[in-house]
């Protein structure tokens, strides 16, 4: 391969660093109305009275919206395909406010100062209600967070709002209880994972204006422009044909921009005032009023015989979706479906649980999407089992983990909100990943610990993980390739580059197929008017789904080119040879270059625009796999931890762009380490978010990670574009369990609650 599997610099990195306009707010109209949102100071309250008269009269205020002024149609902001597996439980504005930071009203004014002043003039009388803040007490709580009658599920997901249940699920293969009874060793533990903030650098941003056809043109910092168009249309009762959504460069998403944010309010302002409007979330709003990772309580039972052969896994999860049910069912299901198949040789497996509402910031999609939560619990429990059996945890895994050409019944049973899809592991280099990682970290010398003196212990720990590559039969991507005069191409994709580099790798796939170079493929993403459909950048789907679409479009383009060349050379198209630059035929003496052919097509003879569109949906979701190994140095007296090295060996099929793929893995590792070690969304006793800025919510800095070692396994997934699987999420999954296992190996205490801060480790040591 000449372009794929080569380290091509990101096609827009230079332009961005050099300061060219790229992001949503860079494109806001200069005279935009500034939209500001009045947010609830209460965790749960009913608005008894709201008076915006004074605000409306303030000079410079163009519009004030309260729940009296907006359409009342339940919808979900989740940003998923249709029909959504998330309950339609949200209104643009509602008489209830369900968390501190929930929307009460919005103002649009000529400038920020006026908007801020107007917010202060809105009088609200609340009936403060008893909030539900402890998710373990949410089910059947006397406070019902969603008492309204007009909300609903799109298909059965276990939606029972009257008992604060957003979703529920149960599945069992064989009889787990019976199987556990036959096991010689059973590990039983309860794990807790916390809410994590996405903390992308670009705040949620949206702006809108009307065009000369009076259509609503929205720029949004979104991972899902096509879903945004559909959801705005549904929520605001505007025909979809009257809406155009443009996604410029997105400054990080991690799932946090899959769901909608300010789009509804800004659209309404522009539709009502006919003026451009914009909303940039403050950092506080990003933390308080966007989304978090779903916190979970995970009860795991793992049974084995005394040789270490796993017999049964039982997993019960209680998940906290916060005030609204975005991704409630699906994140929770992925905690099972992208974890349990790793141990496919068990006799029996059960996965069940509930997702509950609480009066906290809504949870939503977040890189790892349940898998990181489930992985922490199961991969910690596997190490506990190894310890109990006195087996090296690597050997225990090797004995039980999934291998190439094997399958798991779970694939067929569990999908994302629906039934799953049976599939074989056509590529699974997990065995290599484990062996290679073991060598790279120096497991043999370092496991389990070394006392290095000076109160310090060094230890190692590891975990394995799997993810998916898009959602089979649901996720869809399309790409259009257009030939231009002078022989270069436009590639338009609905796929959404949010920083992961999809524009670059999709150009690489096209260039490889078209036998040209990346500079001849001009990528444009994504714009609901101009680019073909794509479900969006989520579920680790872009490389595999959208990449396949690009590949198919490129093959079609080659066919079109050959036909056109055949006309020019006056030979049969079947005989045409194309090497990316010129066409020849055994039936003809003459040849024609791509440049000449394209100039002929647009200026001289047989004029015709050549355009090819490819689209793709998966019939399976080949999982990428990885083994993650951590080496830490821990202070015996204070439990302070230094992370010395994190080794990742990843099977993502062909890395289309090895450097960018490495960036995906390493970015995921560091985000996962943040979750494992110190990141935590914290609330006061009254439900106010405490961690609402960068001073109170800390993400890893350049000084917090010493070394990352990342390698890829040789692997070629036949169904993927040039052998590729996904790589966007897999990196985030292993750090919590690997760190927990390393802490156990160092100090002999088992951490069951994230984040594993030095203080919590110290507390466990005290109890030991």
């Amino acid at each position: 391969m000449k372009v794929v599997k080569h380290e091509i610099p990101s096609i827009d990195g230079k332009g961005i660093m050099m300061g060219h306009k790229a992001y949503t707010d860079d494109f806001a109209e200069r005279n935009s109305l500034i939209v500001k949102v009045l947010r609830s100071p209460h965790a749960f309250a009913k608005i008894k009275k709201i008076n915006a008269d004074h605000a409306r009269k303030l000079p410079g205020v163009a519009l004030v919206l309260t729940h009296h002024d907006v359409p009342r149609k339940p919808f979900t902001r989740a940003g998923q395909g249709y029909p959504e597996p998330s309950p339609h439980d949200k209104f643009v504005l509602d008489e209830y406010v369900r968390y501190v930071g929930d929307e009460v009203a919005a103002v649009a004014a000529v400038d920020e100062k006026t908007a801020d002043e107007a917010l202060k003039l809105i009088e609200v009388e609340y009936k403060v209600l008893e909030p539900v803040l402890d998710f373990e007490k949410a089910l059947n709580h006397e406070s019902v967070i969603h008492p309204e009658e007009d909300i609903h599920e799109m298909f059965p997901i276990g939606f029972k709002p009257k008992i604060n249940q957003a979703a529920a699920y149960h599945m069992e293969v064989k009889n787990v209880e019976e199987s556990l009874k036959t096991c010689e060793v059973v590990i039983e533990e309860t794990f807790y994972t916390q809410a994590q903030a996405h903390a992308m650098m670009e705040p949620h941003t949206v702006n809108a204006r009307l065009d000369v056809q009076n259509r609503l043109i929205i720029y949004s910092s979104t991972q899902t422009p096509f879903h945004v168009r559909r959801i705005i249309s549904q929520a605001l009762d505007v025909p979809m044909s009257r809406i155009r959504v443009i996604k410029p460069r997105v400054g990080g998403g991690f799932g946090g921009k899959q769901a909608l944010h300010g789009e509804m309010l800004v659209s309404l302002v522009t539709l009502r005032t006919h003026k451009p409007a914009k909303l940039v979330y403050t950092r506080k709003e990003v933390f308080e009023s966007s989304y978090t990772r779903h916190p979970m309580r995970i009860k795991v039972k793992i049974g084995a015989d005394k040789t270490g052969k796993l017999r049964a896994i039982d997993c019960h999860i209680l998940s906290d979706t916060g005030a609204y049910g975005e991704h409630a069912l699906t994140v929770f299901m992925v905690a099972g479906s992208k974890v349990l198949p790793m141990y496919n040789k068990v006799d029996a497996v059960r996965f069940h649980g509930e997702v509950v509402y609480t009066n906290k910031t809504s949870a939503g999609a977040y890189r790892g999407y349940g898998a990181i939560q489930g992985n922490f619990a199961v991969e910690s429990a596997i190490d506990m089992l190894a310890h109990k059996l006195n087996i090296d945890p690597i050997e225990l895994r090797k004995m039980n983990m999934i291998a190439e050409n094997e399958t798991s019944p779970i694939f067929a049973i569990m999908g994302e909100g629906t039934e799953g899809t049976a599939m074989n592991m056509d590529t699974c280099k997990l065995d290599y990943c484990v062996e290679r990682g073991k060598a790279l970290i120096g497991w043999h010398e370092k496991y389990p610990r070394q006392d290095v003196g000076n109160h310090k212990i060094r230890s190692v720990g590891m975990a394995i993980a799997m993810q998916g590559s898009g959602i089979p039969y649901i996720d869809m991507g399309a790409a259009t390739i257009k030939l231009n005069d002078d022989g270069f191409y436009n590639l338009t994709v609905g796929a959404t580059d949010i920083g992961q580099g999809s524009d670059t790798i999709l150009a690489q796939i096209a260039a490889e197929a078209l036998m040209t170079t990346v500079d001849k493929v001009i990528v444009y993403s994504s714009d609901t008017d101009l680019t073909p459909f794509d479900t969006g950048a989520y579920a680790s789907s872009t490389t595999y789904i959208s990449g396949n679409a690009v590949y198919k479009a490129a093959l079609k383009m080659i066919e079109l080119l050959k036909k056109a060349a055949a006309k020019a050379l006056k030979v049969d198209a079947e005989t045409i040879q194309f090497d990316g630059k010129a066409f020849s035929s055994e039936a003809s003496e003459s040849t024609i270059s791509l440049i000449d052919l394209s100039n002929r097509l647009y200026y001289n003879e047989d004029q015709e625009q050549l355009t090819a569109t490819g689209s793709y949906f998966g019939t399976k979701s080949p999982p990428p796999f990885m083994a993650g190994f951590i080496e830490i140095e821990i202070d015996k007296e204070t439990a302070e931890i230094e992370i010395l090295n994190y080794v990742s060996v990843v099977d993502c099929g062909t890395p289309i762009n090895p450097k960018l793929a490495q960036g995906q893995v390493e970015g995921g590792i560091v985000q996962g380490l943040g979750m494992a070690h110190f990141e935590e969304v914290k609330y006061s006793k009254k439900g106010q978010l405490i961690s609402n800025d960068w001073l109170t919510y800390k993400i890893p800095t350049s000084l917090d990670i010493k070394k990352l070692t990342t390698e890829f396994a040789e692997s070629y997934e036949e169904s993927g574009p040039y052998g590729a699987k996904s790589v966007g999420e897999i990196g985030i999954d292993t750090p919590p369990a690997a760190l927990g296992n390393a802490i156990f190996n160092a100090l002999g205490v088992r951490m069951t609650e994230l984040p594993m801060t030095p203080e919590k480790i110290f507390q466990k040591l005290q109890k030991k």
Binding site: E637, T638, H677, F678, W694, T701
Partner: protein, 266 residues
């Protein structure tokens, strides 16, 4: 935060007069936390033309202008050489370089921030503050003042004393505020110990210092010194850590810090 007027002071007296004119008037330091304040400032007074950003030295003292930036402090070779790099060690843990290019020593002291890593350092270096009207006052006395002096901080004096230093900030990430911070400074005959972000503001452990300075540091005195220290210093809870964990950190780093600065001594 809203500022109505901006005044660029032409002299200290001018700045002082404007400051006195309205309780809503405010002296600008680096202004880095200013936006987080939910208050209105009538006139913001800028001291940038008053040459208060210089570090000078006499035979006995360093004089640091109150508008000296933290970055300048960490880069001040002579000062850091005298104090065994204590100032630099502390500064390098405060936010990023671009933050420290704006943040001023005066602003950091006048803010009396409980999480401050820097106040402990200046306590053990026996810093003295010079105010425009009030005159000189030790930093320690200033921290004990109930009411903030309604005055302008002009300079900070550090006596020249050679010594050995130890600084430790315990935090969850390198950019986070401290769970606890420690500054130790040992001259020929004096050991000084400060502990901050308890989560209350930094304090000198005076009884412990007096005990060690009088009785020395050896296997017999160590347990007593530790006990004194733990009795003398109070700890509380905040979102970064509990009192219990802070106590553990205090015990550990008290011992490590004193050992470090006493090395080769006794």
């Amino acid at each position: 935060m809203k500022i109505q007027q901006y005044h660029r002071a032409t002299s200290l007296e001018d700045a002082y007069n404007v400051l006195m004119a309205n309780p809503k008037n405010h002296i600008l330091g680096g202004a880095l936390w200013l936006k987080q304040l939910d208050r209105e400032i009538e006139t913001a007074i800028d001291l940038q033309d008053l040459k208060l950003d210089e570090i000078s030295q006499s035979e006995t003292h360093f004089r640091i202008g109150s508008m000296t930036t933290l970055y300048r402090l960490e880069s001040a070779e002579a000062l850091n050489e005298w104090c065994d790099q204590l100032v630099r060690s502390a500064m390098q843990h405060i936010m990023g370089v671009s933050f420290r290019h704006s943040a001023t020593l005066g602003g950091s002291i006048m803010g009396r921030y409980a999480f401050s890593d820097l106040i402990g350092v200046f306590l053990v270096l026996e810093a003295e503050l010079e105010f425009h009207k009030t005159g000189k006052m030790s930093l320690e006395a200033f921290l004990h003042e109930r009411k903030m002096p309604n005055d302008i901080l002009v300079a900070i004096y550090i006596p020249k004393q050679k010594g050995k230093s130890f600084f430790k900030k315990v935090s969850n990430t390198r950019l986070d505020f401290a769970i606890l911070n420690f500054a130790f400074f040992k001259t020929d005959d004096q050991l000084r110990i400060a502990i901050g972000s308890r989560p209350s503001i930094a304090m000198l452990a005076k009884e412990t210092m007096a005990f060690i300075n009088a009785s020395g540091w050896n296997d017999d005195t160590k347990p007593q010194a530790l006990e004194l220290f733990m009795n003398e210093v109070s700890f509380g809870n905040n979102q970064r850590g509990s009192a219990e964990y802070r106590k553990q950190l205090a015990k550990v780093y008290f011992m490590r810090g004193v050992e470090e600065v006493m090395k080769g001594d006794c």
